[in-house]
Symmetry: C2
Subunit: 359 residues, 2 copies
Amino acid sequence: MREINVDNLDDIAIGAAVLGTGGGGNPYIGKLMAREAIKKYGPVKLIDPGELDDSDVVIPTGMMGAPTVMVEKLPEGQEVVRAFQELERHLGVAAKATMSCEVGGLNSVTPFTVAAQLGIPVVDADMMGRAFPELQMATPTIYGIPATPMAIADEKGNHAILKTLDNRWAETLARTMTIDMGCSSMIAIFSMTGEQVKQSCVRNSLTLAENIGIAIRRSRSQGIEPIEALRNLTEAFVIWQGRVVDVQRRTATGFARGNATIAGIGEYYGRRLEIAFQNEYLIARADDNEVLISTPDLITILDTETGEPITTESLRYGFPVTVIGLPCDDRWRTEQGLSIVGPSYFGYDANYIPIEARY
Amino acid sequence: MREINVDNLDDIAIGAAVLGTGGGGNPYIGKLMAREAIKKYGPVKLIDPGELDDSDVVIPTGMMGAPTVMVEKLPEGQEVVRAFQELERHLGVAAKATMSCEVGGLNSVTPFTVAAQLGIPVVDADMMGRAFPELQMATPTIYGIPATPMAIADEKGNHAILKTLDNRWAETLARTMTIDMGCSSMIAIFSMTGEQVKQSCVRNSLTLAENIGIAIRRSRSQGIEPIEALRNLTEAFVIWQGRVVDVQRRTATGFARGNATIAGIGEYYGRRLEIAFQNEYLIARADDNEVLISTPDLITILDTETGEPITTESLRYGFPVTVIGLPCDDRWRTEQGLSIVGPSYFGYDANYIPIEARY
């Protein structure tokens, strides 16, 4: 157990933007919410999954929707607390802690808003080890743990408890409800026991995010390339270097979808990389259609100069960028994992090949 | 209090199809469901609203969605019981009775499925005195009674509890959820006290429906015109007689929308009547664009020969039909009532004029 204060949030948010693979919502929005809550209610305890009793109840919390909309519609934080409490009430339990649904972007720090306000800890873990666009894309799904009953709430005062046949149905029903609610909502989902958290979740991912954030921040004063700092800490591969020459995006069926084209520089000169995204960057192909990396491995676009990760909604023409790849959690590489988050689920005609096997 | 058996259901269903103004779902589906439940569990008590204690809890039940889809996707009856029980559980109450949301079509008899299976009575009342296409279009809305918490369930095993800012939001969220569920769902909604039922609902509308059904059925053996039998019992006006020459329909955003064109015969010869519907018949205009009747008054199309009411999904080219009009509940004629169900709410450029004032 250790305490998370406002300064730690900054580092977690930067690291989570790296692990967020361009999605998971703008981390600054989540940070602002969590910062206000910590300033008002005090620091939050971050506990290791091993500190949970097997019978403890943990309720992860987060935001659902298209990140491009969230930028315009800043949530106040009350609705995520409400979603958490509505689910507690429905289940008739007092949860021991909350947790991040994904370690990517906004949702890495959203639970700190709940934790600060209610005086409960956050578990140092998440359900993806990255960000993914759909609710059922969580490691507990691989273990047969139901996403529902889940709670969903908006800032207008609407909320619902959903109980669905399977986790894919939770995604379907919560997604259209989120669209009705103005394309973003707050959720409490995947209520689990401590035992289930230890078995099914990605451990210590918030600490990893924080360490990545620290490494990138310090690299500047230490006179090393941010990307080198990242490679000292993770198994990161450089996929591409270049400039953004085109971004096509549309917010459709509740997602921020689109394509980014990056003209190569240096060793990549004369070629183009195309990266497709659906909230997150999902597949990168060179102009000869060769797949360089694909989901579930992590694709992250960094500002070449500052090392800052660039989310899909911040991508702009002319940015000098470095595309890196990181290996995903091993469980995503199983047959069952790939059936949930592999390239074919997203409609890409590509076999998954682990990033380490490509380079 | 009196007992409703299988035979009574037949008459209620015919009368409810008249009061359903073309919508409310195919009454035969609801009748089949209720008949099976009564055969299995025994007759159902129908109680007068006056028999309720002021503190009793009543939970109305019904089906939501496009009737054209329901014909294809016959519900089993378990999901409406489930919606009722989920709402009871959420509220932490044992409801004294269930009730019809609308006296039109399917939903007039849907509650008998719940009542038979759970051994509770049905209240002889409804919340519209007819059928309407949207959830918030209920007389309790006029009294500020919230539609939520409501429960919604499908036949696949999905269900949800919704709690919304207002009754219009209940419609919005439940409608898209219904679309996700395959364009039809079962709901438990507008939980009320006995006092609220007595004050805000349309009393004895099931008995009225049954009497209409009996009158139409007996007219054949009594040698009188079915329409005359109806006029002996209600303040019905004949609006038009003719043949259906065109029906345009589309199932859009969860509703069965469309237009029917009826070429006049007899005194209407040489003119055409156009009736627009959104689940229910909403406005009838002659070819000189003169409005002959509009929502909230009831527009019903009867088979001229048999007197049987024709729902929007059963309308076919060539049918000889008689269009009749019935006055709506007085509360729909107030400024607040018209703001919820008047012609302008549905997008028609017409002032409401009570049917009695037109003829």
